[in-house]
Amino acid sequence: MDIEKTQELPLNLGPQHPSMHGLFRMVVHLEGEKITKIEPKMGYLHRGMEKLAESRTYSQFIPYTDRLDYLASPHNNWGYVQTVEKLMGVEIPERAEYLRVIFGELARIASHQVCIASTALDLAGWTAWSYAFRDRERICDMYEMTAGSRLTVNIMRIGGICAEPPAEFWPALKSFLDDTPEMLEEYYGMFFGNEIAQGRLKSVGILSKELAENLSITGPVLRASGVNYDVRKAAPYSIYDRFDFNVPVRTGCDSYDRTIIRMDEIVESVKIIKQAVRDIPEGPIMAKVPKVIKPPVGEVYHSVENPKGELGFYIVSDGTTKPARVRIRPATFINLQMLPIVALGWKIQDIVAIFATLDAVLGEVDK
């Protein structure tokens, strides 16, 4: 007997779609509202970052890394310069390390604020979106005071950090840190506490622990599935072993936990920055590195905990002023693997929510 069925409707979500966070495209096959198949298509923002690195000197590539995950650009700088420093065996001054931690954790807060905001926006919570963006502005102001730009800050240098923060930076930082509990309360009240928002996020898009591990997913998405893995704890880089902080882990495995875990991480980041501000020593902010950077022949891999997950850089040096090969391990590109598996069987509205909770930044996905 033939069963009457609705005709399957292939629908092109993106690249020009309001909730595809840039230029992501996926072809979804729909049965009514239900999704039966997802084909992600990437590469609309591909700029050939890795190839570009081969024709630039080591220092010239730092601004390019800003454009990877442009919502947390200090982290990309940090991962790259640390890889080069590891290759060269450079020790950087204490004060620079502390400043790097401060800016890195500020970037984590800013990135998570954008994630919370854009998740709210993808669920049509317009007001929650503007609140989180309002607070992120203060971090952008702090970037601007120090590095001169607000989004792609280009703040790290091989051997240190670009500039000493001005005098007005420290009070601004202190007042921001003091206000964070209030901010988080506001986000919770505006968005996460809302019945409708919880209905749309809770038990939607279950990413099981096994699947998350098998897909080598990292970052908050992994930790929301109950795996305690954070590069800052697993392989402490910089001076993270000196700080007392927890890695928030949640076991809900759903969209709700993937979003709200970022609130927990903001709390931990604030804790780290407070300790860094307390302990920061006086001293130089740049190590003595040669004017022309010429690492010895060799190869090195180094990874840092980006707000989105593990961001790795693999550099091969042939002893010249330009890298022979740079390979970037983007966190969200790998995290995105889960989307076609997890979102299957959910509705169009849910795929938007699931995609938002992955916090994908297309600059990093397409490189």
Binding site: I196, G199, R200, I348
Partner: protein, 355 residues
């Protein structure tokens, strides 16, 4: 005191006096021609109300949005940005009128006109003041709800005629949503109808001279507001035009003034829905005598409009299956319970009063 009272009476009956003045031009003030003239004038007034409401509400919506999300909203053009909507309307007039390839041209072009005309039809039975209903219809409520359900067809026409998948999904959502929410909407008003024994909106307002029905029918009012918001596609029930999912639903292919008509229709529908809510539950033009009735009416409608905007800018969008569950498993049983309770109340009241 006497003069103030006289003045109040004049303002209160301002429009009735104007009507009598116009009718006095005819030899027989109640002849066919006089009635016809009045119908035309009433029609023009309703159109003006819709357009004015849209002009004011679009700006107000942006101001309320700014207020909730800590921005200032439009504030450049004219005093505090009040000319912004006019500028936007002029901009829309200048846009190219596109019809997508493969569109069903007739349906595509007719749909916005239908949507724009519906709020005019539904506002025609609302009494804006004492004796100020453009058409005093005995089946006012039934007529109103029948008219609003036509918009389902218009949205589906727009969705189907655009030859666009997003538009089609939006149109289908509209049908599912409207069919589900019309039932609790109608049932929530039935409590009031049972008390007043009339479908006539004028009679319903007269019955609220001592106490508005929101006091007697709080449950009915809540159901009515929720179902009404779903009926006019306001957030959190704006799944039809959900820009994060189906981009703009049925409107996605429209440009220029056709799109503008959808917008006018949306705000017209919103005005009509709040006008009905004000009439049925908040006592319409009834109010303390220091303000004329028509001002009371618009103030009450304005409060409901403001409430709708406030909700829109604070709540996320509901999921489609939750939307359906909410209509069929929560609102519908509640509205039936409301009818039952009202019947019980009327029965007890009659028993006590010995009627």
């Amino acid at each position: 005191m006497e003069t103030i009272n006289n003045l109040m009476m004049t303002i209160n009956n301002l429009f009735l006096i104007i009507t009598a003045f116009i009718r006095s031009f005819f030899a027989d003030p109640h002849s066919l021609w006089a009635n016809l003239t009045m119908y035309v004038i009433n029609f023009i007034i309703v159109v003006v109300i819709i357009v004015l409401a849209a002009l004011i509400l679009i700006l107000l919506e942006r101001k309320v949005a700014g207020w909730t999300s800590q921005r200032s909203g439009p504030n450049r053009l004219g005093p505090r940005g009040w000319f912004q909507t006019i500028a936007d309307a002029i901009k829309l007039l200048g846009k190219e009128d596109l019809t997508p390839a493969g569109a069903d041209k007739f349906m595509f072009k007719v749909a916005p006109m239908i949507i724009f005309s519906l709020p005019m039809l539904s506002l025609a039975v609302i009494p804006f003041g004492k004796g100020l209903a453009p058409i005093n219809l005995d089946l006012g409520i039934i007529y109103y709800l029948a008219i609003t359900s036509i918009s389902t067809v218009a949205f589906l026409m727009a969705g189907w005629g655009s030859n666009n998948k997003y538009a089609l999904i939006g149109g289908m959502r509209e049908v599912a949503q409207m069919i589900s929410y019309e039932i609790p909407l109608l049932f929530s008003v039935l409590g009031v109808v049972m008390i007043t024994q009339s479908f006539n909106l004028g009679v319903i307002v007269e019955a609220q001279s001592s106490i508005p029905f929101i006091v007697l029918q709080p449950l009915g009012f809540v159901i009515f507001i929720i179902a009404g918001m779903a009926e006019v596609n306001r957030a959190p029930f704006d799944l039809v035009e959900a820009d994060q999912e189906v981009v703009a639903g049925p409107f996605v292919e429209y440009t220029g003034l056709r799109w503008g008509l959808f917008f006018l229709g949306e705000y017209g529908n919103m005005t009509a829905m709040s006008a009905l809510a004000a009439t049925v539950f908040l006592g319409g033009w009834q109010g303390p005598g220091f303000l004329p009735g028509w001002i009371w009416f618009w103030m009450k409608a304005g409060i409901i409009i403001f409430f709708m905007m406030w909700v829109r800018w604070t709540f996320p969008r509901i999921r489609i299956d939750h939307l359906m569950h909410f209509a069929w498993k929560v609102l519908l049983p509640l509205s039936i319970a409301n009818i039952f309770l009202t019947g019980l109340g009327i029965y007890i009241y009659r028993l006590v009063m010995g009627g």
